[in-house]
């Protein structure tokens, strides 16, 4: 019951690839494979050859033979099955089924063969599984990398915060001192430049890195803007009166300043607004910003079914400068018939219903501009969607508490619909008052126990196609099953039910349309399993 080797040889007898699964000497395997093409007769209707010691089970593939060398007692039925699996795998990995093609992908084939046969014994795997194994896409590794990244970011943040604190205190300390700074700067800048190069690079680096990350990115952002926001103020400070003494913390700012003076573009300083708020959305930088936001209010019943499903969406507009305020907005909706749109009373309803263009009734009036109190700007359009269709629910939670002796085992599983990739998913399960954290037996993702509120938080950073479903199991002392409800869920997503998109901005006064940015997000407002 042992496969000695799996090989691909050409019809002329050249050994292209061979993987052995038991110990055998090179001369032996080469001999066996060299003898094979001579033993294969033509015109036979069976595909095995037996010699004194071994059996070859083979399959011709175009100009090649795929072949298993087995011992003679080997189970032919199983070997044929193995051979069939391998024969399906070879074309998967090798584009052209000739010598060249096989040679090119020899190592990939060896990896695939390894998945099908373990120490000569057949593994029960399908072609899809082998492909998955060979791709080695691991969800856990991704998570691990994210966690590592966030840890790095966190430490960086701490470092920055500390740095800025020291910075601040130094500035405070030095504020009283007077002195000519400009002369000092002019004579020392060159030297300072070179000596602090690395410092500046590390700080800018983290600024970029954080932008591409989600999850912790908002926090990082706010910190980075905080420190950077200080930069101009610090830079303006010296002329007011900075002493000859050059504090260590000032060097950074000075350095930035001097860089700027030399015409270097310092990217993070482009952000004009020192947004100190810890709002979810970073402050807008484009002249026109359009925000599509949908809020979800969902109540799911614990034994299946939808209690309430309500989506409320808004499209809001924010314009930074007065010059850009005479515009109209062309949008495109996903065509979901169950969504009803309502425009702002000042909007030209006809224009919207006919051409999907949002413009003011009075074309001469500009849109309100500037930083309004509301972070998201002026609302242009609202919509609503209600449904009882369970298929629309982006994330269903299934919670099974079961009492066993003095313990309650709770297994929770989620099932996410393929419509959305959900981010920062947090499932909060109320627990009975506990003395210590519950024992989590198994989890896809991470967990945290909030002892003050008796809540177990199960967080999954990202739910995408790799983990459309997942589960967690934990144990608590015996408790009534109703105590684990209502479970509330938080998450966000970057696409929406309405699929509303801003296609274009039409300037009413001619000229080029101003640049605009668009933000789309779906957030949960109240998402519960009761």
């Amino acid at each position: 019951m042992v496969v000695l080797a799996a090989s691909v040889v050409s019809k002329s007898g050249k050994v292209l690839v061979s993987r052995q699964f038991v110990d055998m000497s090179r001369i032996r395997i080469e001999g066996l494979l060299a003898a094979f093409p001579k033993l294969v007769g033509t015109g036979k209707q069976h595909t095995y050859v037996e010699t004194e010691n071994v059996r070859y089970v083979y399959q011709p593939i175009e100009a090649l033979y795929l072949l298993l060398v087995t011992n003679k007692q080997s189970n032919i039925l199983e070997d044929l099955d193995t051979l069939r699996t391998l024969s399906k795998l070879v074309p998967e990995y090798s584009m052209s089924l000739d010598e060249e093609g096989i040679c090119k992908t020899a190592f990939e084939l060896i990896f695939a063969f390894d998945e099908v046969i373990a120490l000569g014994h057949k593994e029960n795997v399908t072609v899809a599984q082998v492909k998955q194994y060979c791709e080695m896409e691991s969800h856990e590794e991704k998570l691990h990398k994210l966690v590592m990244q966030s840890k790095i970011n966190e430490t960086k943040d701490v470092m920055k915060r500390k740095a800025s604190e020291i910075d601040k205190s130094k500035i405070e300390k030095n504020r009283g001192d007077k002195g000519g700074f400009m002369s000092l700067q002019s004579m020392g800048s060159g030297r300072i430049d070179s000596s602090f190069n690395d410092l500046s690079i590390s700080s800018t680096g983290s600024g970029f890195g954080s932008g591409s990350n989600f999850g912790l990115s908002t926090e990082v952002d706010s910190f980075s803007t905080k420190s950077k926001g200080r930069a101009p103020s610090a830079a303006t400070a010296p002329p007011k009166g900075l002493g000859m003494q050059l504090g260590k913390s000032q060097r950074t700012n000075q350095f930035l300043e001097s860089l700027k003076a030399e015409g270097e573009v310092i990217l993070e300083d482009v952000q004009p607004k020192a947004g100190q708020s810890r709002s979810a959305a970073p402050p807008p930088t484009d002249p026109v910003t359009l925000t599509v936001e949908e809020k979800l209010n969902v109540t799911l019943k614990r034994d299946g079914g939808v209690g309430n499903f309500d989506v409320q969406g808004t499209l809001s507009l924010q314009i930074l400068n007065q010059e850009d305020a005479h515009i109209q907005v062309q949008i495109e909706t996903g065509g979901n018939p169950s969504i009803l749109f309502k425009t702002h009373p000042n909007m030209n309803k006809e224009l919207f219903s006919n051409e999907n263009i949002l413009g003011l009734k009075d074309p001469n009036r500009p849109f309100p501009t500037g930083q309004t109190g509301d972070a998201s700007g002026v609302g242009l359009l609202k919509w609503r969607m209600q449904s009882t269709d369970e298929a629309m629910v982006p994330l269903t939670i299934n919670c099974w508490p079961s009492v066993s002796g003095s313990e309650t085992y709770v297994s929770i599983e989620y099932e996410a619909s393929a419509m959305f990739d959900l981010r920062n998913v947090v499932v909060s399960v109320p627990l009975p008052a506990l003395r210590e954290a519950p024992g989590v037996r198994q989890i896809d993702g991470e967990w945290r126990y909030d002892s003050r509120n008796s809540i177990l938080e199960w967080s999954i950073l990202l739910i995408d196609n790799s983990n459309r479903s997942g589960s967690m199991e934990f144990v608590v002392p015996a408790a009534d099953s109703s105590i684990f409800f209502p479970i509330s869920v938080r998450f966000s997503a970057t696409n929406t039910f309405s699929d509303l998109k801003v296609v274009n901005i039409l300037p009413l006064r001619g000229g080029t349309p101003p640049k605009f940015s668009q933000r789309t997000q779906l957030v949960t407002e109240n998402y519960q399993v009761v």
Binding site: K14, V22, M24, I27, G31, K72, N124, Y133, M136
Partner: protein, 955 residues
Amino acid sequence: MERTEKSCTLLVHFDKGTPALANEIKEALEGNDIEVKIEALKKAIMLLLNNETIPQLFITIIRYVLPSEDHTIQKLLLLYLEIIEKTDSKGKVLPEMILICQNLRNNLQHPNEFIRGVTLRFLCRLNETEIVEPLLPSILTNLEHRHPFVRRNAVLAVMSVYRLPQGEQLLDNAPEIVEKFLSTEQDPSSKRNAFLMLFTCAQDRAVNYLFTHIDRINDWGEQLQMVVLELIRKVCRANKGEKGKYIKIIISLLNAPSTAVVYECAGTLVSLSSAPTAIRAAANTYCQLLLSQSDNNVKLIVLDRLNELRALHREIMIEMVMDVLRALSSPNPDIRRKTLDIVLDLITPRNVDEVVLTLKKEVVKTQGSEHEKNGEYRQMLVQAIHTCAIKFPEVASTVVHLLMDFLGDTNVASAIDVVVFVREIIETNPKLRVSIITRLLDTFYQIRASRVCSCALWIIGEYCLSLSEVESGIATIKQCLGDLPFFTATEEGEGQESSKTSNPVTVSSTTVSSRRPVVLADGTYATQSAALETAMSPPTFVQGSLASIGNLRSLILSGDFFLGAVVACTLTKLVLRLEEVQPSKVEVNKATTQALLIMVSMLQLGQSSAIPHPIDNDSHDRIVLCIRLLCNTGDEVRKIWLQSCRESFVKMLADKQLRETEEKKAEAQISNAQPDDLIDFYHLKSRKGMSQLELEDEVQDDLKRATGEFTKDGDDAFKLNRVLQLTGFSDPVYAEAYVTVHHYDIVLDVTVINRTKETLQNLCLELATMGDLKLVERPQNYTLAPESSKQIKANIKVSSTETGVIFGNIVYEASSNVLDRTVIVLNDIHIDIMDYISPASCADVAFRTMWAEFEWENKVAVNTIIQDEKEFLNHIMKSTNMKCLTPTSALEGDCGFLAANLYAKSIFGEDALVNLSVEKQADGKLSGYIRIRSKTQGIALSLGDKITLKQKGGA
């Protein structure tokens, strides 16, 4: 024999045309581009596989490749580590290997489950305890990993570690751990691997687990069930008394849904028990598989198993005959042949009727659809029925008439089989004679093939006994010949004219096909006459004047005068017999004259120019003889014609039967050991590290044989004949080689002795080969102390039977003068073709088709001092290791001529054919030719050389 060769885990074709430079690889490995790195690593592995050790590359890889995050690189790295030499020449682990340990441990704790898995798999192939030891804790933690992929490989890693020489000390609690693991594991594959581990490492635990979970065995995965069966086999072999406990498990597994398990079950049953019920169950299972599996491979192998059962448990298999016979429904001729072979051996008086009935039905089925394979199948069936009828003459009556329908078959081979069958039956079954003759005379006109015709004519001539039979026999022949004469003068003119037009066609076709010499059935070497071959093609030009041309007429008109001679003989016999049974002399004379007329017109036809070839001398003489006989009969001649023929036929049949029974006897004897044979104690054989159990296990043996670990030890007495002296006694280095020829490889064991008083440095045995030989390794350098000796092993791969020559020299530096290299040229080593050739046998027909097909012929003129033909044949057989296909009865007697066919097969599956034709000259010397034919030039040439060398004989 202890194995010193390293095991080889992978082979990749490496094109030497594009050599990759070590520098380029190094540069690429140091770079940052992942794709380039992967390519370079692949190249490095291929170079390593090709024996290009690049030691400096290892450090580069440690520095630049080890830290890579890329998965493909990591996997390739594992392959690289797998094949790299990890120990020094003394078997100690190289110190730099410690560098990879850390990396392996990181991999085992990697968040990516697949990295963990492949690393664990790599550990399974690792033999160095020193490397494995620090990784043990990581391996064990992986047993609890969430992902089954990791667990399944972790268990295998544990098993491999435990099986290492010091494994039991390293992981003394491994069986406990795995047992615990097994009890909680859900993944079928991990479960299987865990059970496998217990099975190989702690058998009693495995048995224990099996019995605690015995009720759920049917729900287990297919793979696990297979291992269970393997376990049962092993346990029962060790402890026969416990069989009873397991039989039940096997019986319950016989109903498993997986056919592989069912097949395995049957095999296990057979190996465990010889109780009729068990064997019956196994045979039943095989029969079911035979019917349910559509794959030809499966059917053939199941038939092999059934055949084994047939040999061991004949009584039970006899009951199964009808089930086995159902496999005939498969269209594959190999399967059908195998099935028939099994069935024919199982025929008893009780089941013969049933079997023959089925065979008859099959024959009738072949009539329906004209499929090209049908002819072959019909022939097979006819032969099978023939065998049945010989064994149990009573069934002959039921089949012979059916078979006679096929005398006119377009498939000549099957028609010949039928007629031969009829010939034999009519002799052995006198009761059937009358009905067969009547039937034969009725259907004679349907026969198309000349060979069938001549055989049928012989039957008519021999077995028409009564007056009416003889008369209708003569009438039938006359009718089939049509009106006489065969051609008229005018026809001759026309014929000549038409012959002019069509002659080129016929001639060209015959010259193409027939000018090749063939080997006749009696082993004589002949140039085939064109007439025999064209006989089968429809007559092209001379058409009979009547609409109903008889079959004999058309055959004879096409130039088949051999048939003409047969007709003449048959008529002569019939007339002679008529004289005995016909009271009226007038009638006899009338018949005689008619016969004479026919013969004369045949002669006339033969000499006319209307026929492309004139009549050959043999046939002419024969017909003339018949004419003379009819004109002048005598008692003596009559006796020869009417009795001796029959007698010699009876003798031939008896001889054939005798030969068959003798063959069978010989076969039966081979399987039994002689009372004074040596008994082989496996345990006493020189094999290390194997428990007694393993040695007794035939499955294990099978595996060992397959991996080449198990080689038949040759006769020690001949071993020393193989020692070759390579250098002279006065050379500073003396070398001799002991040549061992294994299946596909040659091992040279070279002993090198330093005969000087100096230390020889960088001594290297350089070998080069010619022919289909290939050196496996590159030579290594040695340092040889004064007057010390060294054993050097060299492996050489053989890929065909062509004679190979190994050249070589020994190169060394004397310690006093480093730059001065000395070269000693070695004697050539010739590899003997005889090591690869083994006697084999094949059917006469197959031999002759091969003879016609094969392209290479080597003709060697006989030149020998041996005076006796048979002695010469024996000498050739012995020196070429070939088998004589010509039956000994045909070689008997002393006539000064000898012709024989010899056959052998090489282990590469090549056929070697030899025909020997010698004649004793007047001066007592033998003369003649030996012809060798083979598909490849190599065999023909080297066998020819061998014969030229050896044929002298005497010495």
